[in-house]
Symmetry: C2
Subunit: 697 residues, 2 copies
Amino acid sequence: GSDLELKCINTIRVLAADMVQKANSGHPGAPMGCAPMAHALWSSVAAGGAGRVHSAKSPGWWNRDRFVLSNGHACALQYVMLHLSGYEDCSMEQLKQFRQVGSRTPGHPENFCTKGVEVCTGPLGQGISNAVGMAIAAKHLGATYNTPDFNIITNKTYVICGDGCLQEGISGEASSLAGHLGLGGLIVLYDDNNITIDGNTDLAFTEDVAKRYEAYGWHVQTVGDVANGLGDLQKAIEEAKKVTDKPSLIKVRTAIGYGSPNKQGSESSHGAPLGDSEVAAVKDRLYGCDPNEKFYVPEDVAAFYKEQADEADAARVAWEAEFAKYKEAHPDKAAELERRFNHEMPEGAFYDLPKFVFGKDKANATRKFSEACLNAVAPKFPELMGGSADLTGSNCCQIKGAKDFQKHSPEGIMVRFGVREHAMAAICNGMFAYGAFRPFCATFLQFAGYALGAMRCSALSKFGVIYIMTHDSIGLGEDGPTHQPVEMLESLRAMPNMNVFRAADANEMAAAYEMALKNVHTPSVICCTRGTVSPLENSTKEKAMRGGYTVVEAEGDSAPDLVLVATGSEVWRCVDAAKALQSEHSIRTRVVSMPCQEIFLEQDDEYRNSVLPGNVPTLSVEASSEHGWHRFSHAQIGLTRFGMSGPLEELFVKFGFGAENVAAKGKEVVDFYKQRGGNVPNLNDRPHFVNFTGPDH
Amino acid sequence: GSDLELKCINTIRVLAADMVQKANSGHPGAPMGCAPMAHALWSSVAAGGAGRVHSAKSPGWWNRDRFVLSNGHACALQYVMLHLSGYEDCSMEQLKQFRQVGSRTPGHPENFCTKGVEVCTGPLGQGISNAVGMAIAAKHLGATYNTPDFNIITNKTYVICGDGCLQEGISGEASSLAGHLGLGGLIVLYDDNNITIDGNTDLAFTEDVAKRYEAYGWHVQTVGDVANGLGDLQKAIEEAKKVTDKPSLIKVRTAIGYGSPNKQGSESSHGAPLGDSEVAAVKDRLYGCDPNEKFYVPEDVAAFYKEQADEADAARVAWEAEFAKYKEAHPDKAAELERRFNHEMPEGAFYDLPKFVFGKDKANATRKFSEACLNAVAPKFPELMGGSADLTGSNCCQIKGAKDFQKHSPEGIMVRFGVREHAMAAICNGMFAYGAFRPFCATFLQFAGYALGAMRCSALSKFGVIYIMTHDSIGLGEDGPTHQPVEMLESLRAMPNMNVFRAADANEMAAAYEMALKNVHTPSVICCTRGTVSPLENSTKEKAMRGGYTVVEAEGDSAPDLVLVATGSEVWRCVDAAKALQSEHSIRTRVVSMPCQEIFLEQDDEYRNSVLPGNVPTLSVEASSEHGWHRFSHAQIGLTRFGMSGPLEELFVKFGFGAENVAAKGKEVVDFYKQRGGNVPNLNDRPHFVNFTGPDH
Ligand SMILES: [Ca+2]
Ligand SMILES: [Ca+2]
């Protein structure tokens, strides 16, 4: 490469080393090794690079070529590139604040913190899987909104990833699907540096990665050492761009910590600052420049990247002119695209959600109600795109009449994810990150445990992915405890920014869908039963949208003798139990349905206390871990063990969720406090306070 | 094949179809398609099979060839084979009780329910990954206990798996590692039937599986249609046995639901009974026998399998004679093997666990205490074998002086799992299932979310795997929220049969290790801090072994004014807060440390009430989701949002876990109830009852 090319690459290396050194924390090795790849991705074709288009002035420009740093620990690299390209969030001041509380340059990339960062990466394997979602999104959107006269969506998705990402199973799942789908818009640069945290990759990772990716149906190339210039990298990227029916992997031989006289090529440069003297030695060795100068960008380097950024942005300017013409020619399509990218609700969005009429409509499984709701909103929300991990029928998540998204039908909206739950969730994250999508995906609730790493990324990244999780309790029945969730509801409820719905009937399911779609930046898990639930007489969508409400009031005007609080398939059993308690023991029983704890907790104190008074004996009933229910109830009917294989109604009785046991235990609770002179500890009599101090990002 | 061979295979098919039909639930297609493979695995070499050794009379015989049905939904097949081989748990009566409550033939294989079943399979990808663990176990044990004159451990591990298992990322992780380790004892038969639940594998799975496995370093063979006899399958198995330095994949073309005139080769035979008339048609078509005869085993078929079972068992009889001689020649080795397989504690097992002397020993991170404890017990427990998912140094889980288990050093006990958390946990399950091991593994607590599917299998299967999970809170610091666990402690606490430890100091860590090792059938998660904790003055291992205890008592003899309850790195901060509350506000404060909620909850009422009286204002402090703490406390300092990137001490203060905020909030809690006339709702005043009715398995 030219002298300037090498100078640019070395500037990146030294800046990254400075950042890590000043923070006294972080990962210098990967940025130094990957600097040539970053240089290629931030340079025009004329300058020997990839000609990736993006815009520092408008980081959210729809048709930007996405970039994902899958090895997120190398984020100093990404911040440096954003800085050199003029992104506001990565000022030199922010580079100096790397990894500090409240900075825009946190220890791993965070999409909600730094403009120019597409997704949260760091948990290995997520980024490359997100990128598969982005490539799906681009391909589908292009197929749907481009016209013979206008190509509005044409962007590519670039990834840098390391061995760590490729060892994770999630990346194998996503890559297999990407190959199957022939995602030509996806180009992955593999930082093949032979080093992992523990040492040489020989310790645990000796497979033939290139061959594996060929087996997935990818276009695979290998590029030799790029330490001192791009060499054949540009040629390989150009080749990759030409292959439009396969995703591309370019295996690039790099050296971790390149330029560090004592740590280059060693795991010692991976996860700790190099040390002041070693950073100085890098500067000396790479530049022959002043080892004491810190955070230094030579003028010609700054000018170079400014020029590259301007050229990248010129594409955006041209695109905007083009889009203005598109808007004139195709106003409906343009308006819909704008609505989708702005996450605005379509007109009459929820008008067709089913309303269950008691005594008229038929009892059914809540997964069937979910299917009805999904199909009611889908025609209004073309941004609803997704599918199941090979359980389409069981999950009841087929949008009627919708085509599959496949290699030769990119306009389809149903994605066949295969038996790949973790990648499925990560792909949905990528589609959401792309913009203009409300992805949904489905499996058995139990197998949320396979996808949790990516579901957490939905919550953290504020991606309103919709998870349809059926077979949500021991009510799964005969498949047995390997398939019956016990702890999963509590796992998800304990996760910040994740709404967990468990509807008891069709009206509550309608509420779940409306809330899920309205909460654009909170993912939702819609839990559904396999088995039939009896309809509730007094449920409405509006009541259910408060998260919890009284579904059966106790007789008389004074406070009830007992409150039963339940979710999903347990609610109607509580209604039956309440009737029995009244008729057999004159115990005046209120039944509360709690389709979403998170939303109930967001209601004001007055409303919450009106539903759950706290000083009335309260029994919670949920066919799941009782772990978190002590907040809402004095006693619990729940699970403290795993389920069993058997017919579901038998299991409900065996585990104590039959109406008869609920009534018996309800009476016990009432008697327990009666014997104590009616002294019921008030569950609501608790102080509340905020502990988080100071400003957030 | 011979007429008898085909008759045997068809008998298996028809029995499995009968079971599913009678249960009116289950998966007939896979057993019918896989029947030839099962026939091969349950037949001697002379009879055209694999000559797999096992013992119906002694199902736990150490040197049996393990068999794992990774596609566990095909379990009717396994129960049929166990029945035909004379395994007591699978009597004809039990075959008729398939999928019924309390039967020995549940809807997916359960190791704790059915003798002859090695592991719980059904969650796809687990079984094949468990098998990798079994092959590691066998290889290590053979290398350690075989002598030039005696080969005591020589068994192989056989697997049947389907496309579902091979689509899951976990199997890719495990298979890559198996190839790296050259596990020649592992032979996988891949049921290549071109069908998944959603339909043809063309929908989502078109990769070249054989090539992928070659890329992993496996020995790969393809066998054509076996529907009407074993064809080349025996030859392929013999070849696989000869390859001792690579695991083997044999891709076998099968037809799902083979024999069903209307459903063969279709996904409609996968997950639902064929229907009475279709089962009758199968009988007619396959046999020309009475379509109304159910659960029928022709005499010659019964005799054949009895003969095979006897031959397989003869190996066990011979082995026992051999082992008797081994025992004479190598009494120490034999005794250790027996102790290991019996899960007996070694002599002086816990004698060397460190005792922290307050005022003398140095403060440190609890991950360093974990390292000390691991190294204290490791010399006594050679059955402790494991390692980290590429974070050995950060997890502090290196056993000093121990060699790596690698292809050419199978006697090593440190496993380099690579960046493969999910497979790591599943491999540990396989090692535990093998017997004679107490596997341990390590990663950051946050990445338990990647491994949860397999960790749950540890708990369900009663496998006492030890999980060392470091960086257990926002105290991870600069790496930021992608790496900081929030919900993970609660996820794991909500899981049945999983003990979650979070030690506050070295003595509590010793308790965690002793309890983890003693609880052979309960997995343990040992959560550790990255940062230094101040030592506690009054902690002891013995107190900590009760799960929760008073670590600082309030001044004076009467009940305290306030109880602070905390875990791990928050305990010493509470101790500081308690001092401030006493000195500044004369609030007499007890501090309770709760290293293990599960074990605390197992203590008797009297003890629990003596530690947490319930009617004293109680504030819990844990740098994690507050979700489950309402049970133990009136108010919580916890997390309801994700963390941030920054230095750990700053984060603790920002999120309210500094001693100053703990003291301030402690005072608020006291004042809150004072204003209410001292009326403190008693958290212990709750009825408790058991809901589970009738006998367990
Ligand atoms: Ca690497
Ligand atoms: Ca299949």
